[in-house]
Amino acid sequence: MDTPFCDDVQIRVKDLRIAFGNKEVLHGITFDVPKHEIFAIIGPAQSGKSSLLRCLNRTLEFVADARATGLVEIDGEDVRKVRSVYELRRKVGMVAPLPVGLPLSIYDNVAFAPRSAGLHDRQELDTLVQHCLEQAALWDEVKDRLDSLGTKLSGGQQQRLTIARALSHQPSILCLDEFSIAIDPVTTMRIEDVLKELRKEMTIILVTNLVQQARRLAQRTMFLWNGEIVEQGPSEKIFSEHPTSQKTYDYVHGILGNEASLKRGTQASSPIARKTFRPGRFESAAGAAHSSHCDARFKPVVRGFPCAQASVNEYQAR
């Protein structure tokens, strides 16, 4: 876990409430995101994490019955009062959960955003496309076939293409919404390396279900539960043995949401759970729920990817 580079706040959110129709999804949350940091938002499904990201670049407006109140400031400017909403969206890069390759050539996929911004010079587009694809760790695989259709790439390649597309308009904030749910662990790790590099240039907000991913990457983490912030702060604190809230500990250790444990009450203080918790070892694509059932009988395997299991362990050991 690196220390933050600087303390200036890039994003400030104050009392944000989001409602879909009559149902309120986010109940007034407040947090700051400093610059050049990887900021993780963890929490179970339906806790409003994706809607929160969509508020940042104002694409929540495209959802039919969504309403958002509160203040969102990026670089000190209220997002609702910017001069051009398209400039705002170019400042915030967004990566969706499911990989999307636009039905254009790979070159046009990455050049789409600069062309929409008005850049048409062929030379500069070439440089930009190459640079973005290199940053997204996709260049070597596609440099000979930049004219082939973006939709024909594999899932992992399409997700990297999406990242290249997000980088092509040079955002100062990159938002990733559960980017790894539809791709294999090897590509996930490559993208995580990319994110660690990108941190030098921009702020990264990472919404993820994978608790260990947050632990690996983020400097600060925020835990959302049922539309409210349970805890936010430096990652070391959140993933340690003594976070501020018991709920955080339970969620990180996969105990929260387990009916049996809810009946048993504060089972987390049991010595068994503490002793056998080993960071990151029993990660599976289905989430951190496995990590609590840690005696020898329940050694989960990263299904279908035996070689990936080895490389995951090796990665953790670094």
């Binding site: 580079f5 008005g118 048409h120 930009l128 640079h131 030098k200």
Partner: protein, 325 residues
Amino acid sequence: MDQEVLELPQTARPGPAKEPGRTALARARSRRQWELGFETALEWLIRLCGISAILFVFGIFAFVLREGASFLFSSKFSLTQFLFSIEWYPTSMSNVRYGVLALIVGTGSVTILAMVIAVPFGLGAAIFLSEFCGGRLKETLKIVIELLAAIPSVVWGFIGISVMNPVIQTVFRVPVGLNVMNGATLLALMSVPIMVSIGEDALKAVPDSYREAALAMGATRWQTITRVLLPAAKNGLLAAVLLGVGRAVGETMAVLMATGHAVKIPHSVFDPVRTLTATIAAELGEASVGSSHYQVLFIIGILLFSITFVVNLSADLIVKGVRKG
């Protein structure tokens, strides 16, 4: 460890390769402003086109009403006499009467007989295509039915005169072959494609789990269809029939050519009749512009517009109910 990065000023970005992209984007911003203006104008044009559909519907009603309005609201016109009298003598020298009941009955009789023929065949074909047919046969049949739908109504009218006329005369041994039967057969053949395509959509929308459940209980195919699928798809099938009715009521050329020219209430299916649509088409050319005959024809047009409006509206509401539920 990361000393060199800590020393960077906060807003600058490292890396020489980034610089060309940055300044290029800044230059592009001004061109983009110009493009934005063009886009806003284009978007207003698109909005205008969107609203135009409403304008056209109102326009049709308004202009048709306009031509018939002065007679419609004058004292010489009585709505009850118009709708309920069978005496249609627009060109009489002495006693001009405008009663369209015979015409309404004409339209009604042809439409009802056409539906009596078309509904079993149309629904039967829809069931056949959806349940008993697969792959290439289905594709081929669908294409043939689509081509059936494309035949223009004047060609159907011609078929009515040249083919159906002698056939009806010989098969049913009646003196005149241009009658309700002729028109109804043509209308049936014209409405069947709509019924088949929408009916097949409705049957396709019934989930496979219904079919599988019926099969699991040992039902025969026919029982599955009559007791499970038809009730489940009844909204869509009803909409299909209504749309077929709408098409039949609004049809002009085929009935003009094939139903004969008698403005009387028919006593059998082999009597000639005249429909509302055929009356307008046949007499508009002879009525002088602005005369009361001319205006009454426009009023008949308003009547037709209202009938088809109601039929199509109900079909659309039912179809929307199908798509949602």
